[in-house]
Each structure stands twice: as C-alpha cells, then as structure tokens.
Symmetry: C2
Subunit: 418 residues, 2 copies
Amino acid sequence: MSTRLCILDTLAHAKPVATTLRTTPARATNRTIRLFSSTATTAAHRALVFRQSGALNEVLSAQTFRALPPPGPGLVNVRVRLAPVNPSDVNVVEGVYPNKPKPETLPPLESNGLVQPSSASAGDGVGQEVYVPGNEGVAEVTAVGEGVSGLNVGDWVVFAKAQPGTWASARQVGERDVIRVDKDAGEVTAATLSVNPPTALCMLREFVQLKEGDWVVQNGANSAVGQLVIQIAARRGIRTLNFVRSRAAKDHDALVQRLGALGATHTHTYDELSDRAFVSRLKALTSSNPPRLLLNCVSGPQTTAMLRVLGPDAQLVSYGAMSKQPLALPTGLHIFRGLVARGFWMSRWYGTHDRAEREALLREVVAMKLTEPGHRIVDVEGAWSDEEAGRRVREALGADGRGGRGEKVLLRIQDPVL
Amino acid sequence: MSTRLCILDTLAHAKPVATTLRTTPARATNRTIRLFSSTATTAAHRALVFRQSGALNEVLSAQTFRALPPPGPGLVNVRVRLAPVNPSDVNVVEGVYPNKPKPETLPPLESNGLVQPSSASAGDGVGQEVYVPGNEGVAEVTAVGEGVSGLNVGDWVVFAKAQPGTWASARQVGERDVIRVDKDAGEVTAATLSVNPPTALCMLREFVQLKEGDWVVQNGANSAVGQLVIQIAARRGIRTLNFVRSRAAKDHDALVQRLGALGATHTHTYDELSDRAFVSRLKALTSSNPPRLLLNCVSGPQTTAMLRVLGPDAQLVSYGAMSKQPLALPTGLHIFRGLVARGFWMSRWYGTHDRAEREALLREVVAMKLTEPGHRIVDVEGAWSDEEAGRRVREALGADGRGGRGEKVLLRIQDPVL
C-alpha cells in the first residue's frame, strides 16, 4: 500500500517514476515489465463513465477499476495528468456524436483481492458495459510493452486516436495512439494541444495555398478553434473575416475587441449577411484577394449565407456543426463557381500520418506559444469515494461541461485511495 | 445573289467550299481573306433570339442579321449545321441558368444595303439587345482570320465555350472557342458531342480512380448524361447503381429494361431509399467495393437520401440540379466519412485545357461510338420570313424544348433567302 501511495505521490508532483522502474527500448524485457507490473497491481484506477446517453450532469458517474495489467507488446500504460472537457465530449455523452468510446466491462467483485471497489454502489451492474469519455489530455508514460520504441517511462504524451477515454486516472493504449510531447509546453497547453491547435493549423494550410494578405472566412469565430485560427492566421499575415452570433451590443463590442486583440481582422454577425449592401461592402473589401477558404463549425442557413462572400474555386472546410442543421449548398456554386465542400477531422489526420509527422506537428504548435484557453481545473481527489467523486463532477460540469461558467474545464483525476 | 445561293447550296451538301476560298495557315494573308469576305457579304444569316427571359414558346423569335464580317485575327466564321436544344438551353431562356449569352445588338435598317431584314417586323427594336441561345452544335468553318492555325475552311468544329449561341445559321467565334472534330462522327453525334459525352467521361475518371468491379451511384440516370455514364462505365467493367423517379410500374419496368440494355447494373427509385431494409441490401450488395463516386444532376432531399449508400472517402460530383433545390449534406459525412462535394462543368474543363487535349478528348468520345440520343431534326427553312420561322420554331419546341414529345430536338437553321 505504501509503495502505491509513494508512486502516486511521485506522479502527483510530475516527476518521472523512480529510475528502477524506467523502461527504455533497449531494456524492455519481460523481466523489467514484470517487475514494474508487480508493483503497479497494488493500485487501482478511476474513470468517469456513463452507461446510457444523456445529459452530462445526469448520466456521468465515477468508477473504480482494478489496476491496469502490464502492457503487452506495442502497448503502453499511462497516467492521465489533465484532460479537458470539450464540447464534442458533451455530445459524445449525449449520444449525438458519431463516435462513441469502446465499451468497457465493469470488473467483477470477485477480483484477485488486490483491488476492491471503494464505494458502496460500485458493485452495481458488475459485468455491465460502461463508456469512458474524454478525447484529449496529457498523460505520463508509466510502463511500456515489448517492442515499443521511441517512448520511455516518464515521457509526456497526448492522444492521437478518437475516443481514447481520457477522463480517467490511467489508461492502457497502443503506442501508435499517443504522441510524445515536450514537457516545456506546460500541463494546460499539453492537455489541450492535440485537437484544437493542430485542427486550426492544418485547416489553414492543407486545402488552399494561402499567402500574406489573403482572406479566410470562418464562423463560430468565438469557439476554441476559431480563436486559434485567428491567432495562427494573424501571425502569417492572413486576414480573417470572422462571424459570430448576434448578442447584446455591449457584449458584441466586447467580443469584437477580444477577437481583435487575438488578431481578427473583421468580426461580424450572421444576421448582417441578410443585408445586401453589407455583402457588397464585404465583396469590395476582399475584391483584390477574393476568399478561397471558409472554415465551418456551424452549418445551417447562416453558413449558406456566408457562401456569398467567397470567391471562385473556394474550399468550404467543415469541422463541426454547432447549429445541428445540415449544410445546404446551392448546386450551382459547385458547378459554376468551383466550390469544393469537404471536412477535416484531426483523428483522421493522425491516423494517416506517421509518428515523425505527428510529433513534428505538435512541436510546431508548441513553438507557436498560442494563447492558452481560459480554463479552471476540477480535481477529483483519490480520497473520495466513487459516489462522492461522481456527485462533485456532475456539479462541477453541469449540462454544458463548463458548469455554466463559460471557461473550459480540465479534469485532474487521481487514482482512488483504497 | 446567285453566288450566295450557290455557296449556300454547297454548304447544305456538307462539302467544303470551293478550293479558291480555302484559307490555310500558310496562305492566311489579308488578300485571301478579303477575297473570301467580299463574296460572303452578299449573304445574311439568321438566329433564334430572345429579348426577355421567359418560356421558350413565348419569348423565342427568329431574326435576320447582316452577313458576318470577315474574321479578324484569331477569329473564324462558321456555318452552323446542326444544334441541339438541351435542357440547360431551356433554362437559359427562362433566365434560371447562371450563364447568359452575351447580348447582341440588332442591325440598324440603314445598313450597307446588301442585307435587309426579311420580315415586316424585323425593324422593331433596332439597336435593342437580344440574346442568341444554344450551347452546343456542329459547324463548318467558312473563313479563318489571320494567325489561325490548325483550322481550315471546310473543317467541322464543335463549340468549347459557354453560350456561343449555336441557334443560328452562322457565327463568328474565336479559334480557341471551337474544337475540330472528325466528320466520320456523323452530323447528329457531332452536334451532341461537346457537352454530354465528355461530361460523362470526365466525371468517371477525374475525381475517383475507378477499377473494374467498382460501383458508381448516379441520379437522373435517365438523363442524356446519365445514359452516357451507364454506357461508358459498362465498357470499363464499372458497375452502376442508377436512380430514377418513381413512375407507373409498366413505365418503370420499361425504363429499367432500356437502361439495362445500355449496360446499367441496377436501377431503382428515390422512394425506395426510405426503406431501411432496401438500403441495407444495397450496402450488402456493394460491400466489397463501397461506392466512392456519386454523380448528381438532381440535388434536393432525394440526393441526400442517396448518400447512405456511399462508402467512406466518396466524392459527390454535381453537374445539375433538376429538382431546383439545394444540396443538403449532413456535416458529419464531410468530417467523419471524408465526403467531398464538388461540381463539374464541361465549359470550365475546355477553358483549362489546351487545343491538343480538347481534340484528344473528343476523338476519344467519337471512337467510343456511343448510342446516339433519340432525336428529331427541326428545319428552319431559308425561304421562311423571320415571322414564320419564329412561329414554327415556337410550335416545334413548346415550353420544354421538345414540343412535349420526349425526343431531343436538333435545329437546322438555314441562312435566310433575301
């Protein structure tokens, strides 16, 4: 018990685990792994789970799982340090996202005796399938399996696979499903590094060759990705035409100012697009470099209206559909104006690029030192029972994953103290 | 007068004009051209025109124009032999097509005296702008301007430019706006060669690399392009999943049989797509080669329903929107299934490919010896007045451009006899 706590304590202070436990590729023998795992099995780990889809603050609970087994060939065990609650995670739990985490089966009570569920209700539904949400986060490698090269115990990694289930204290993942990241990035930046910043960066360069002075049009400009697009574009001298929802004049002015401070060239509301004179002014404004890239995370009629400001041969790249409405495109824009509509999905990008490319992309993002998202950290203490942990998390997240407070929540889930 | 009639007669029999009038690049001196043009100015030409948009059988009239001037540098004069009435032409006249022919100004009455409008009403609206429809046709070169190489008097050409105004007896066009075509193609095939067959061919190979056994899905399978897609695909061992509107059982069976005879693998109705079991069967049928190409000339909800049968990373290529409704795409298909939506426009293809490529494409289409579209030829006699010619054309075409008779109409417009 004291050994486990000692390790936990070490991890909690973000130092690498003791040198004797470190596994390097050269020393990744079965013996080394067995040595480590015999120590590790004294621990349990905890995850947030849902059984049925629903509102975050209704269906989420905390669950203690027995310790991870030693990693098999090609696998690594990681301790999750920090994991964000993203809007897409809320959708996953609601059941309105196309992807769902792989189901996991609750451990039987008659386990090997080393681990016992810590809360009174943990035995409920033993053998039942549960889902662990969480698509992003930063973790530390605690053990590597046979044949794993390029990852060492103590390395920080982020997740490059859809739905790895990061709302947990520990995970076992394939070595290809994580990407090593420099600790200099800092914990918050690293935890929010793998999805939004590379999404913004890739969308700005993979579809249209943009040069200084060119315009990019985007909706949902106030979203996390939207703000990153503004920052990255501004650093490259690319001008952004940003669209947001209408709000009270004071709030709108404050938002325009905030996006402007990040580098936004112009910020307007979708409602303005119904004014022909306004659209004509935008066209005149962009006439020397008609926009060829529209980044869409909204869809619905407001996005159709935005098509008017595009030049010929434009690309409409979708990465979300916050309006929950389809994208309605006048066919003539495809035929006569060369419009191409496509999507971008970071998980897919990771799946089609090798380790070196993936690490290079994240190094590039870290080097940009982009503004960290406004956030607060929600701790899930090891001393809490599953019941208490679940209740506190539901309160902290609310239905929107932000507890109605507008800042991004980052979860720090500790192993349960048994 | 007799000279003009003699030339007309010669042209009517599809022989090249007399050798003394032939202009080759080497002999394309001003003198040669002047010699020819002094002969040509004794003739007038006629075109079908509209002043305001509207139904074909309401706004179309015939109009005599003075003879074409000699072609300037880079220009050629052609006599149009046969020009089809395509659905897009009907849309152009209705004013619901994005392209419109360039306006032409009616000749003043006080012309050089060689040409007089032949009908009593031709003087109306002198100086007023009119539009000559017609996007396709086969024509014979009657004179070439200075610097024109690769085109000789007597050559057959088709049009490679949007809205050249082929519903006329003669046109003056840029040498780049026409493509030489082999006379062996035959007049009807040549007149309908430049738009539909290369559209079908290009769409089948420019976006997705298809191999034998692959599936292509298309709507409007009964359209001219649809039938060409079926034929071209069948010759390459590519299977087609064809969709058409619901109709009476007997008519549907006849259509399925007719498309089957052209090479269609399966033909279904849009309505069947609302049956989940049917969609599952289609998916099972195509599971070894999930369709990656959907050719769309319909748009609207029936096209959205068709997306269900596509495999991942599919391309939705639009070349029409007969439903006159937009294309509604679930954003998730772009993001998570890699769907790319784009358009294809033959005029654009011609504009971005050089003479050799354009001629090669048409040679390839001619060599395929595709089934000629069902058609009837409507003659516009030189002896008729503009008034009579207009009336007869309106009757023959009706509102749908086919006089309600279902066959494609080809116009053979003769120079007016003055």
